[in-house]
């Protein structure tokens, strides 16, 4: 029973990792931009949620109604005013600029909120559990987080493959020059993609902040988890990203169960094993 609980915990945390990864994967897929500041943007969203809950006196889940649009607007503006200027044939400028952005966000948060760790209080839902079977329990909050993660992936999948916006994303990713001939302004398409990515980041940030303590220095570790989930799942596949998040979460949970010090290490080992055995990831996108 013990192991069932462990794996269940891993799966549920994996949903959170999948949300970290989905925004990262989306941006890379549409504009070949590796967003080094992705983890720090997650932490930024957590702090925006903190301020929102405190000033408006609302719960963390309600605060999503504010945090998601705010992050989407930040994403659009960030892409339009900064990142669009870095895109070109060279992969290095966007990498350097987002790296700088990561430093700026971390230090800005440090100045505003100090290094003390904080947490969002969600009330009774935090400790509520459901009894599934003899000795098997799941927390309501982790379960909700997982359901939201699956819904986010399904939503992104729908947007990408069933809407005009997704068509524009895929066309611009295929051939930016020809996409312009269709009347698509690449700068606007990219900014919309970043807005969507940061909307997902906002959801991930709020759940991160409810789950555990956070402080301004936590971004880079979230970025690594996101990267690992993307690579394990296979680049360019959204459902693969969810699978990657689950593999990472389960590996960490197993590691932590064996020895609490092995939690992070076990995740990295699972990542390295996948990279060695199946470098294209579990569900690579087939490109012809």
């Amino acid at each position: 029973m013990d192991w069932i609980n462990v794996i269940l915990q891993g799966v549920l945390v994996g949903g959170l990792y999948a949300m970290f990864a989905a925004g990262l994967s989306l941006i890379f897929g549409v504009m070949r931009l590796v967003n080094i500041a992705h983890g720090d943007l997650i932490v930024l969203a957590a702090y925006i949620a903190l301020v929102t809950t405190q000033t408006l006196g609302i719960g963390p889940l309600t605060s999503l109604l504010v945090v998601v649009p705010v992050m989407a607007v930040i994403g659009y503006a960030l892409q339009w005013f900064v990142l669009n200027r870095t895109l070109g044939d060279d992969l290095l400028p966007p990498l350097l600029v987002t790296f700088g952005l990561s430093v700026i966000i971390q230090n800005g948060l440090l100045t505003l909120f100090t290094a003390d760790s904080v947490k969002l209080q969600a009330g009774d839902i935090e400790v509520a559990t459901i009894h599934l079977a003899q000795g098997v329990y799941v927390g309501v909050l982790p379960l909700l987080q997982f359901v939201v993660a699956v819904a986010v992936i399904a939503g992104l999948q729908f947007i990408f493959y069933r809407t005009a916006l997704g068509r524009a994303f895929r066309a611009t990713a295929d051939d930016p020059a020809v996409a312009q001939l269709m009347g698509l302004d690449n700068r606007h398409v990219f900014a919309l993609a970043m807005a969507l990515s940061l909307a997902v980041v906002a959801i991930a940030g709020v759940f991160l902040a409810v789950r555990a303590n956070f402080d301004p220095s936590q971004g880079p570790a979230r970025l690594i988890f996101g990267f690992e989930a993307v690579i394990i799942g296979g680049l360019g596949s959204l459902w693969g990203t969810l699978a990657g998040g689950l593999v990472l979460g389960v590996a960490q949970a197993i590691g932590a169960h064996l020895d609490p010090g092995w939690q992070i290490l076990a995740g990295h080992i699972a990542f390295l094993v996948v990279l060695a055995v199946r470098p294209q990831g579990l569900f690579p996108k087939v490109r012809t």
Partner: protein, 241 residues
């Protein structure tokens, strides 16, 4: 100028003294060209003569002086490509440029995403190219070369352009397929669209277009009514001998 279109109205497209550059290399030197309303004009010339550069400049993919290109009476030189598309110029790019991750129908739909009013819609495109209707759900990469060219043409028409620019639609296609595609051009022209055809196949170009411009090393070496130009004139302009 003896080769002016005989419409008394101003031309739909007027290119005046256009210079164009690929990076530091100048591709066009003072090119001028007119395209009348509902007219088909062919641009011929050897490889590297500047035919594609001319189309790319008109479509907004290469920089140009604002007054070097006038469309519908308004200067459009140097406008970004998406804005040029919005004004009613569609380019069928060399090599077709279909979107590989989109299905055939999605490629057509994205051509129509500007929602410009006009005669062309999915149903009409499928009537013009029935083979595309059978393959609408397949990836665009699964089409044969000729079908891909039809899809690229259909995608351009979906934007209901006033001016259709076609860059080497016969490139890499079997002659019978080329004839098949050229056979559809009258149906397209009958909707009042103007067409600029860039071609290496001189005979095909002379048959399909009313007037011909021949480019040589970035300059207009010869222009005139298609039926009046002799083989010798074209050969001289084409090769510069």
């Amino acid at each position: 100028m003896p080769d002016r279109p005989d419409e008394t109205a101003a031309p739909l497209l007027a290119v005046r003294d256009l210079d164009a550059f690929y990076g530091d290399i100048q591709a066009l030197f003072g090119v001028s060209m007119d395209v009348g309303h509902g007219e088909a004009v062919a641009v011929i010339g050897a490889n590297g003569a500047g035919k594609s550069a001319l189309l790319k400049s008109i479509a907004g993919l290469l920089r140009a002086r604002p007054d070097a290109i006038a469309f519908d009476g308004a200067p459009i030189g140097g406008m970004p490509a998406y804005a040029v598309a919005g004004r009613g110029i569609a380019l069928v790019p060399e090599g077709r440029g279909l979107f590989a991750s989109l299905s055939v129908e999605e490629n057509l739909l994205i051509g129509g995403q500007l929602n410009r009013p006009g005669p062309w819609n999915l149903r009409r495109i499928y009537e013009l190219f029935p083979v595309l209707a059978d393959r609408r759900a397949l990836p665009s990469t699964s089409l044969s070369g000729g079908q891909q060219q039809m899809a690229a043409l259909g995608r351009a028409l979906m934007s209901n352009p006033k001016l259709l620019l076609c860059d080497e639609i016969s490139l890499g296609l079997a002659p019978i397929v080329v004839r098949d595609i050229y056979a559809r051009l009258p149906a397209i022209l009958s909707e009042g669209i103007s067409i600029v055809l860039v071609e290496q196949d001189v005979v095909q170009a002379q048959k399909a277009a009313r007037r011909v411009y021949c480019l040589q090393e970035g300059r207009v070496a010869l222009s005139g009514a298609a039926k009046d130009l002799t083989r010798e004139q074209i050969a001289a302009a084409y090769f510069g001998v």
